[in-house]
């Protein structure tokens, strides 16, 4: 464990040096992610011109939901995203060999090589929106609520990580799997909606979006835990589902990754 922490410290240092080398790039990515987030918030502004609540959620609760989603997804993107996205390329070119030769876990090596500091700044932007929404709602969460919120966000990050790992691992079999990023974004698009919105959806859709691809849990559960939002499926059940799905998807992604590694044949240069 200590060894991994040491390694991670060095990786962070390298990433920081790299980031400082390409300062313009850092700022551009920062602006880019922030703009996407602001565009989403603009949707809330427009929708709430025409209604006071959506499925029992009022405007600032939805803003809190968006902020939470941005927080969790940007933490995940800071730690792993670029690295995971690069995995299909590592497999296609055979560069995965170098990762496998290192005396550390290959999944760890492939997931953590580069840290995105711009994403970290954006995670704080998400958090700032959550805090601002609390202020607008004149709501001060209790310490228990904050703790539960942070735990749920941590589980959400695990789910983000596991889902993306599952998607990129497919490229061990299908070499041209660049669509993985695209799939991630399209699925996560659904995470920003209040879960109560899907109240009338068929059971199969709900099952798919809460247990198979638990996108309806990753932002909703933390937000609801923080703000005690009762509309939608029972909160305690959603919270349990979040824990269960985080555990099963993470375990499955590790299993699937190892299966992929067994299938890896490298590529001739």
């Amino acid at each position: 464990m200590q060894r991994y922490l040491d390694i991670y410290r060095i990786l962070l240092r390298n990433s920081l040096i790299r980031e400082m080398n390409f300062a313009a790039n850092f700022w551009l990515w920062l602006v880019c992610e922030a703009l996407w987030f602001v565009a989403q918030v603009a949707l809330i502004e427009v929708v709430f011109l025409y209604t006071d609540s959506v499925a029992g959620w009022d405007k600032w609760q939805v803003v809190m939901l968006y902020g939470t989603h941005h927080l969790a997804s940007q933490i995940f993107q800071a730690v792993c995203f670029v690295n995971l996205v690069n995995v299909p390329e590592l497999i296609r070119t055979g560069k995965m060999d170098f990762l496998m030769l290192q005396p550390i876990n290959a999944q760890f090596a492939a997931s953590t090589k580069q840290f995105g500091f711009d994403n970290l700044v954006n995670a704080f932007l998400g958090l700032a929106f959550v805090v601002f929404a609390c202020y607008k709602l004149s709501f001060i969460p209790s310490s228990a609520q904050v703790v539960l919120y942070l735990l749920a966000v941590a589980l959400a990050v695990v789910i983000h990580y596991s889902l993306t790992t599952l998607l990129v691992t497919v490229s061990f079999w299908i070499v041209r799997a660049q669509g993985a990023v695209y799939a991630y974004y399209n699925f996560m698009n659904l995470a920003r909606y209040p879960d109560a919105v899907f109240g009338t959806a068929p059971a199969a859709v709900k099952f798919l979006l809460t247990l198979v691809f638990p996108v309806l849990l990753v932002a909703n559960v933390p937000t609801r835990l923080l703000n005690d939002i009762t509309s939608g499926p029972a909160l305690w059940m959603s919270a349990c589902l979040l824990v269960i799905s985080a555990v099963w998807i993470f375990s499955f992604s590790v299993f699937f990754w190892n299966l992929g590694m067994k299938n890896y044949t490298s590529a001739s240069s």
């Binding site: 602006v31 880019c32 996407w36 427009v46 929708v47 025409y50 499925a55 669509g179 909606y193």
Partner: protein
Amino acid sequence: MFPTALSLKIFTLGLQNTFVYRWNFLMRLCMSFIPLLGLVYFWGAVYEGRGGVSINGYSYGEMIFYFLLVNLTQALTMPLDDEWQIANEIRDGQLSQHLLKPFNYMGYRILLFVSNRMVYTLIALGPTTLIFLYFHRYLSTPHEPMTWLYTALALVLTATLQFLISYIIALFAFWILEVSTLVFIYFSLEYLFAGHLFPLDIMPRWMYAIIQWTPFPYQLFFPIAVFRERLSPHEMLTGFLIQCLWIGVLFLCARGLWRRGLHKYTAVGG
């Protein structure tokens, strides 16, 4: 600009190259319908909160139809990989081989773009028809037969505008190493102001009035508004004029950037 035989050759080449990736396209297409699932339920809840009252003339059904048309318009007009390919060719020095050939690079790229869109539309036909059939009760056709013609014209101009914008962003590869941030920054603005998130005419009036003068609405919203007959004849005419104006301006920009870029071009790794 091009002899017909040469155009046909490049066009066929484009068709063949694109067809190699048909499964990739099909996957991407199917995945692009996932957000639609969210939109259906989200807007359902919004309208329920309003007691079913329409929003600026959009009933729930019309809102869903709008988003279906967004998907369709994108399939017809949006460049998929063109900007990445152009930027890569400039960066890796592969552009040199095209410079030696006796044709205009932009013309060559336009032909590839058109063939690419045709293959994509062909592949999109099946899944899109299924989705449209599923939502058949929300669909409607224009009252005026002429609207079909106007829509076709607007779509062609939209595709032209889309191509020019991608092309211009890609040309920045002459000066900077990595154009992906530019692509994504532009796309985030387009996402908001072109009508991907909501029909533009439900945003505050003053904002819509400003955005009308930017190229964004003419990249997506305009052809849909024409098809849905949401514009008065005067508004439609103004729209077409602004769209053509932007195409003209961007065409000149593209030419200028290309000339300047070539001076800068060093054929790395050539």
